[in-house]
Symmetry: C2
Subunit: 116 residues, 2 copies
């Protein structure tokens, strides 16, 4: 499946979706945080701090802090790996799933009526 976009369409799509998010008064996540959240929900588990850090090319403290914030927002969870208690397993939440589902719908809607 190939989806063709022209530059102005790509930017319009991003702007419209981000704008809906802002106007909706939801979380104001940075690109780093959004990358982490989406990776947790799109890639196969398990997810660890170390894994996410290397996947994103950022340091571990960055991931730890993003988990602090988004954990407090109930967008994901943290728990110790019982098999290797050094690891922390990052899990999904119902709230996070609903948030991304709604976000995806927003992107889809804006993609549908993009200026030609």
């Amino acid at each position: 499946m190939t989806i063709s976009l022209r530059p102005s369409q790509a930017l319009s799509l991003w702007r419209d979706a981000a704008l809906s998010e802002v106007k909706g008064g939801h979380h104001d996540l940075s690109m780093r945080q959004m990358s982490i959240l989406l990776t947790v929900y799109l890639d196969a588990p398990p997810h660890t701090v170390r894994g996410l850090a290397s996947r994103l090319g950022v340091t571990k403290p960055v991931v730890t802090r993003a988990l602090d914030t988004m954990g407090q927002m109930k967008l994901l969870t943290r728990r110790r790996d019982p098999r290797d208690r050094r690891n922390v397993i990052i899990g999904r939440t119902l709230e996070g799933a609903l948030y991304l589902e709604r976000f995806a719908d927003s992107v889809i809607g804006h993609a549908r009526d993009l200026p030609r």
Copy 2:
């Protein structure tokens, strides 16, 4: 022109583009900041603080501070309106245009090879 996306494709596209941005070590803009930047570059000028604030549904200080930050990043400029010196006109820069051009290419590239 109608572009059809399924939810997982919408999220993958956003994730891949955001991830490239993060891994590229560029600016870590929030959705609010990105909305402002894109609005300035996509909508017809002139752009004012008040106009952007109402367009985004945020307060004026939010816009002022975003302009502080992105102005320092050279992504846009501020100058007084000579006709009504209460107004501040927000302008584009070469650097901002290049940044968004590159970003658009990234989105396009990821949209092209999206999983079916």
